[in-house]
């Protein structure tokens, strides 16, 4: 049987003896170190338990109840899940969220990577300034961007429409937030402004790790820039790209504040035909506007399951992609 750390015999060394700390006190300190460690950890553990583990467990229970606020509830079994899975609005929310997530991966990330490559080049004196400018929108948050773009997208008088008109001769009277087919593009445009700079920072860091001797070797062997990018740069940034793709997708699946603030005055808060309704928006509607935390919890679990599946698929796909390189 192994000895408990507190009972390890300590042979006093001259240095220890000089400190005047006796064997009994040292034993206390050895045992105390373990206790002290847990005490120092306790704020984190308490907060995690109180605001993560307990709500998680409670949400599992709540999903089987119908509630009218926090205190009144009735057990309904699987009824909340059946209702949500039979509700056409839920599928509208899933479709909108999927469109946004796809746009995040297919438009936002290539743009971020492109900008990162431009700004990681050796020449260009103002590149730090541009890095800052492109990253800055991320500091203000989704609510600010939502409110800002709701003004920019105003027909006739909005800055965005005026810019479109000046550049293309089209778009002055476009109703981005009132036209069901333009709502999601508007949300995506606003999110590009917000997140492109943020993801660019990850790619900038990843590009620092690309082995320049390999790039140089490719160049000397006569490889085109595209081939160099595909055979040297891409494999080197795959781990970071996987991380960015997975976190962007998870973030996209949790989208709420941006469309919610952008569409406050349009189509009852979620855009015409619920064209801006997301899964979390749907959850918010049931849990906090209707006061039915049970249905909200059921939606939360469905969303968790969806995120889990998508993340696993993405990670496996990137592993596969990485191993073929």
């Amino acid at each position: 049987m192994s000895q408990a750390p507190s009972e390890i015999a300590i042979v006093p060394t001259p240095q220890l003896a000089a400190t005047g700390v006796g064997p009994h006190r040292r034993r206390l300190q050895m045992g105390g170190e373990g206790v002290a460690g847990y005490l120092f950890l306790s704020p984190y553990l308490l907060v995690t338990a109180m605001f993560f583990l307990v709500p998680l467990a409670w949400a599992s229970v709540l999903a089987f109840y119908q509630t009218n606020g926090p205190s009144s509830r009735v057990f309904v079994g699987w009824s909340n899940f059946k209702f949500v899975l039979g509700d056409t609005d839920f599928y509208v929310a899933v479709r909108n969220t999927a469109v946004f997530a796809a746009a995040s991966v297919l438009i936002q990330l290539p743009l971020s990577l492109g900008l990162a490559m431009l700004l990681s080049s050796k020449d260009g004196r103002a590149k730090n300034l541009f890095r800052l400018i492109i990253f800055l929108p991320n500091l203000v948050g989704q609510v600010f961007v939502g409110v800002l773009f709701s003004i920019l997208f105003t027909p006739t008088y909005g800055l965005f429409n005026r810019l479109l008109q000046a550049l293309t001769g089209w778009g002055l009277d476009q109703r981005w937030l009132d036209n069901p087919s333009l709502v999601m593009p508007a949300v995506i445009i606003a999110s590009l402004w917000l997140y492109v700079g943020f993801n660019m920072v990850y790619f900038l860091a990843a590009l620092q790790n690309v082995d320049q001797s390999l790039v140089e070797a490719c160049r000397m062997d006569g490889a085109s820039p595209l081939r160099t990018f595909w055979t040297v740069t891409v494999p080197a940034i795959i781990p970071v790209a996987t991380f960015v793709v997975v976190t962007s997708t998870i973030g996209s699946l949790q989208l709420f504040e941006l469309p919610y603030t952008l569409l406050q005055e349009h189509g009852g808060g979620y855009g015409p035909k619920n064209s801006g309704l997301t899964i979390v928006g749907y959850l918010y509607q049931y849990a906090f506007r209707n006061g039915d935390l049970g249905t909200g919890a059921a939606v939360g679990w469905l969303l968790t399951l969806l995120i889990l599946i998508v993340s696993v698929v993405q990670i496996r796909a990137s592993n596969l992609f990485g191993s073929t390189k």
Binding site: L28, G32, V35, A36, L39, F40, P43, Q66, N68, G69, P70, S71, S72, V74, V76, S79, F83, T88, D89, I151, T154, P155, T156, Y157, G158, R175, D178, P180, E265, H266, G267, G268, G269, Y270, P272, K273, N274, F288, R289, N290, G291, D292
Partner: protein, 460 residues
Amino acid sequence: MKEFPLGNAALAMLVVMVLSIGATLLVPAAATAGKPDLVMAIFSPEHVAAYRPVVERFEKENGCRVQLQLVDQKALQDRLQSSLQVGADVPDIVELLGGTLGIFTQARVEDVKLLDLTDRVESDRLKERVVESRFGRWTSRGRIFALPHDVHPVMLAYRRDLCERLGIDVAKLTTWDKFVAVGRTLKDHHLPDDVVGRHYMIDLPYDGSELLKLLLLQRGGLLFDSNGRVTFDSEAAVDLLCWYARQTRGDNLVGYSAGGGQSFSKSLIDGLCLFYVCPDWRTRQFESDAPSVAGKIALMPMPAWEEGGRRTSTWGGSGLAITRRCKKPDLAWKLAMALYYDPASVAARFPETNILPPVKAAWAYPPFDRSSGYFSGQAIGRSFADLAADVPRDYDSAFTSQASNKLVEAFANIAIYYSANGEVGLHDFAAGELHRCADQVRRLMGRNAFLTTASAEAAR
């Protein structure tokens, strides 16, 4: 001095913890010592400012203390809902936004956490003194749970100067048909100093939003009937949504969505839209958002749906409720009467808010006959008071916001259909869409275990 066994950092953490717990226990005790007799939560800063002198007088006359709390509307609604449900501390009196009573009455009548005011309303014969139709939205299963603060009749505000120059005689715009007919001529009608490409007859939100309900009420339709049943798939609603699609889409449209805030001000100043739907409370917005058009704006009654029909509707509103946890309900009622139904007091308040009070005796006071420089010298108080008796009755439900959203969703689909197919099959499509959306709300209501008992009560 002996050292703390786990070191100074742990000692510091312990001290902070003890201080925090001590403060948490002591602060509420200190707060309780100076607790006022009544706490009233209000979401409108204008209301707080207007009530303050009345409350000061009330405190002197009754030897009590009243605290007015200004709380954001959404926060007030959410916190009140949660606090009432868990039995936490709540204000004695709350001002609720119209359309939200249903959230608080989603239970058996005896379980509703707001005080039932029906007997007090009857014993004080309030229904004779106050515009009776305004109690509708504050009533659930025949019981009154809040007092109406306002009437909010709706008129049309218009650019008088531009209408005169464009040859529009507003006196002849007695029906919506006539209004639309004049509006269609505007497409080719320009003034030499126009700063806009064309004038539109009226500001109509592209998605319908609040205006659909307002126009539906004017047409005799409702979202819910007095028993809380969904009724927004009525024939009146079908006709209205088809009409609204025609006025906001296609080549013959007469409406333009001016939006809110700066966009609205610009549209008003530029004369992009000539007419604007204007309940009494919005007149203040006109004055503050577009002062440069003072004297160029005037008010007229809404056109009716048929000759001789109703020429107003209603938009917005708030009501005063007393919570069941109020320890001095008689004092709270007395304050409510002083704030809402003292004719001299509410008449004196009118110039500050332009909101028509529902107490009829107040309308005889001079402020209602005072002419407004902004509105071309019209006595706007009198104009709104003259329409008050015609304001349609409205009912509330716990599902008002869902029903409003579904009405807007139905309209979005109808508008898309109209843009693609014109009049062909429009009526049938609109009826189908409204039924589908109304059925979704019915399904939602049907699965609500808490409302089922309330509905069964209503049906009895």
